[in-house]
C-alpha cells in the first residue's frame, strides 16, 4: 500500500516549487504541513464518532487502559493509510491553489 501511495503520488515538496528551499525553511514547511494534516486526521476521526458513541468514547478515553484506547482508535481509523494520503494530497492541492 505504501509503495502504491509513493508511486501514485507526485513529489509534494517539488510540486510546491520548494525543491531548492533552504533546509531550515523546508523543515518549517514540513512541520506546519504535517501538523495541519494531523489536525485534519483527528477531525476526520471526530467525524466518525457519532453523537451516540461520544459517551462511550469519552468513557474509554477517561479509562486507565491504554490498550483499550488504542483499540478504539484502530477501530475508528482502520484506513489510516488511505486517509493519510488523501489528506496530504488535499493539503498540497489547497496550498498550490492559493499561491
Amino acid at each position: 500500500m505504501e509503495k502504491e501511495i509513493v508511486n501514485k503520488c507526485e513529489n509534494a515538496i517539488d510540486e510546491m516549487g520548494l525543491k531548492d528551499l533552504s533546509a531550515e525553511k523546508k523543515a518549517e514547511v514540513l512541520e506546519k504541513m504535517s501538523t495541519l494534516v494531523c489536525d485534519r486526521i483527528i477531525l476526520k476521526l471526530m467525524g466518525r464518532i457519532s453523537d451516540v458513541e461520544v459517551e462511550k468514547a469519552n468513557e474509554i478515553m477517561t479509562g486507565e487502559s491504554d490498550e483499550e484506547k488504542l483499540e478504539f482508535l484502530k477501530t475508528k481509523l482502520p484506513d489510516f493509510n488511505i486517509i493519510l494520503k488523501e489528506e496530504i494530497d488535499a493539503v498540497k492541492e489547497e496550498i498550490l491553489k492559493g499561491i
Binding site: K3, D20, E24, L30, E31, K32, M61, I88, I95
Partner: protein
C-alpha cells in the same frame, strides 16, 4: 612429325620427368644446373656463372625491394589510417567543444533573460504598488508574474543541473560567473519568498482546522481534548506528526528526504538515527497507529540502533530511554511546535520579505547593457512577453481582474478618499507632463532642483516610472545621470542619458 628443334631444356625436362620414380629426397638433392653432353646425356653439375649469380643477387634485391615497398606502403597506409582517426577524433572533439560552448551560451542566455525578466517583474511590482498598495489592493498580475518567474527559476535550475551532469567540472555556484551568481541570488530570494507564502497559506488553513474544532459539540470537544491529552501524554502526537512527516518525505526523492533529515529538518520530531531508519522503511510504519514506545522498540529491533540522547543529557553506559519517554519537550495541544535550530548552529541570515539582492552600480550597468544589446535578449524578452501574456488578450484579462478587485472595494469610503487623491495627482501629472514633454532643460532643472533640496523626484526611465536621479555627471555638453529605484533597492544604473528619461511631475518625496 618429330621436332628436330626441340630445345635442350625440353629434353632435360624429359629426363628429369623420367626420374619421377626417384624419391622426393633425391629430387631435392638434385643439383640445380647440369652440363648437357653432345649425346644428350646429363653431364656434371654446371657451376653458376658470375652473371647468373648477379642475376640472383639482383632478383633477391628486387624481391627485398618489393617487400620493402610493400612494408612501406603498409606503414604508410597504417599511418594514414592513424592520421585519419586522429583527424576524426580531433573533429569530434572540436564538435563536442562547439556543442559545449553552444550549450553553455544558451544556458547563459537563458540566465541573462531570466535575470532581466526578474528585474522587469520587480519593476512592475514596484510600479503597481505605488497605486494599488495605497488602495489596499494587491495586484493579481504581480502574483502571476512572481509565479511564472519562480517556475522559470526552477526550470533554469534544472538546466544548470543537467549541464553539470554532462560537464562535471562546471560549477553551478560559480561566484566568478556574474550571470550565475545573479541567478542564484534571485532564485534564493524567490524560493524563500515562495516558502514564506506556503507557510502563510498553511497557517491560514490551520486556523480553519482550529475553527472546525471549536465548532464541535461540547461533548465532542471534551472527547477531542481527551484524545489530544492521550496523544500528548504518550508522546503520541510527536510520533503521529513524525509519521505524517515520514509519509510526506516518502513522496520526495530519497536524496531530498535524506538531505532534509541530515540538515536537521525533522530532528525536533524524531532523533536523527530513528528518522534515517524510518525513511529506510519508507512509511512502512506509517500505516499503523503505534505508541511512542512501540515504535521505538520496533525501530530498535529492526535496525539495531541506539536512540539519540536528549539534548544536554548524557546517557549512562547502556542506558536506554524508557518507553513513552519523548525526546523533545511536548508542544501544547493545538499549537504548532516551532522549529528548533541545532545547538551551536548559527542560523543563516534571512532576507527580509520583499528584499532583493543589491547589485553594484557598475555591475548593474554592465549587465543591463550586455543583456539589452544582445539579440538573445530580444528573443528572450519576446518569449517572456508571450509567456507572461503581454499580448492584448492577457492585458484585457488582467484589466478585468484588476477591475474586479476594484469592484470589491469601490463602495468603501477609504477607496473613495484614496481614489480622489490619486485622480487629482494623475491629472496634475498629465497636465505638467504634457507641458514639459521634450523640454530637456526643464527636466534637467527639475532634477537638479530635487537634488539640491534632497528630494527623490520621481521620473520615468525608458518609459517606466518609479525612478529618481541620485547623481548628475556633466562633462561639457555630455550629461549623464545615475538613477535608482524609489521603491526597492534592486536596480541602480549609471551613465544614463537624458533622452532615456522622461518627466513625471507626479509628486516629489522627501528623502
Amino acid at each position: 612429325m618429330e621436332n628436330k628443334n626441340k630445345p635442350e631444356t625440353w629434353e632435360i625436362e624429359e629426363v628429369i620427368g623420367s626420374e619421377d620414380s626417384k624419391s622426393d629426397k633425391e629430387k631435392l638433392d638434385m643439383p640445380e644446373t647440369f652440363e648437357i653432353n653432345d649425346d644428350g646425356t646429363i653431364g656434371e653439375k654446371k657451376e653458376k656463372t658470375f652473371e647468373e649469380k648477379e642475376e640472383n643477387v639482383e632478383e633477391k634485391e628486387s624481391n627485398a625491394s618489393v617487400e620493402e615497398t610493400k612494408e612501406t606502403e603498409e606503414t604508410k597506409e597504417t599511418e594514414e589510417t592513424k592520421e585519419a582517426e586522429e583527424r576524426r577524433k580531433k573533429i569530434e572533439k572540436e564538435e563536442k567543444e562547439v556543442k559545449e560552448i553552444e550549450l553553455f551560451n544558451q544556458l547563459m542566455a537563458d540566465i541573462d533573460s531570466f535575470v532581466e525578466m526578474a528585474s522587469i517583474v520587480e519593476a512592475n511590482k514596484n510600479k503597481k504598488e505605488s497605486v494599488w498598495v495605497r488602495l489596499g489592493i494587491k495586484s493579481k498580475k504581480s502574483n502571476n508574474d512572481e509565479k511564472l518567474i519562480t517556475e522559470r527559476a526552477a526550470e533554469i535550475s534544472t538546466e544548470l543541473e543537467e549541464f553539470k551532469k554532462k560537464y562535471s567540472d562546471f560549477d553551478i555556484n560559480d561566484k566568478e560567473n556574474k550571470a550565475i551568481e545573479d541567478f542564484n541570488k534571485i532564485k534564493e530570494t524567490l524560493i524563500e519568498k515562495r516558502g514564506e507564502d506556503v507557510i502563510e497559506k498553511i497557517e491560514k488553513m490551520s486556523n480553519g482546522s482550529e475553527k472546525e474544532k471549536q465548532d464541535l459539540s461540547p461533548e465532542k470537544q471534551d472527547l477531542l481534548k481527551k484524545l489530544e491529552t492521550f496523544f500528548f501524554q504518550k508522546g503520541g502526537i510527536q510520533i503521529y506528526t513524525g509519521l505524517v512527516i515520514i509519509a510526506i518525505l516518502a513522496l520526495s526523492p530519497r536524496e531530498n528526504a535524506l538531505d532534509i533529515i541530515t540538515n536537521g529538518a525533522i530532528k525536533s520530531f524524531l532523533p536523527l538515527e530513528w528518522a534515517h531508519a524510518a525513511i529506510a522503511v519508507e512509511g512502512a510504519v506509517a500505516g499503523s497507529i503505534m505508541t511512542y514506545g512501540a515504535l521505538k522498540n520496533y525501530l530498535i529491533n529492526k535496525f539495531k540502533i541506539e536512540p539519540t540522547p536528549e539534548p544536554g543529557k548524557t546517557p549512562e553506559p547502556g542506558e536506554k530511554p524508557e518507553p513513552g519517554e519523548t525526546p523533545e519537550p511536548k508542544p501544547e495541544p493545538g499549537k504548532t511546535p516551532e522549529p528548533k535550530p541545532e545547538q551551536g548552529e548559527k542560523p543563516e541570515p534571512k532576507p527580509e520579505p520583499g528584499e532583493t539582492p543589491e547589485p553594484t552600480l557598475e555591475d548593474a550597468d554592465e549587465s543591463f547593457t550586455r543583456v539589452v544589446g544582445s539579440s538573445e535578449y530580444q528573443e528572450a524578452l519576446k518569449r517572456y512577453q508571450e509567456e507572461v501574456g503581454f499580448d492584448e488578450e492577457k492585458k484585457a484579462e488582467e484589466k478585468k481582474e484588476e477591475g474586479e478587485s476594484f469592484d470589491r472595494v469601490v463602495g468603501t469610503s477609504e477607496y473613495q478618499e484614496a481614489f480622489d487623491k490619486y485622480q487629482e495627482e494623475v491629472e496634475e501629472v498629465e497636465e505638467e507632463g504634457k507641458k514639459d514633454k521634450g523640454e530637456d532643460s526643464k527636466l534637467l532643472k527639475f532634477i537638479k532642483e530635487g537634488l539640491e533640496k534632497g528630494e527623490k523626484r520621481e521620473i520615468k526611465y525608458k518609459g517606466e516610472s518609479g525612478w529618481y536621479v541620485t547623481k548628475i555627471d556633466e562633462k561639457d555638453d555630455d550629461i549623464k545621470f545615475s538613477i535608482k529605484k524609489i521603491n526597492g533597492n534592486d536596480a541602480e544604473y549609471s551613465n544614463v542619458s537624458i533622452n532615456q528619461l522622461d518627466l513625471l511631475l507626479r509628486n516629489s518625496r522627501k528623502k
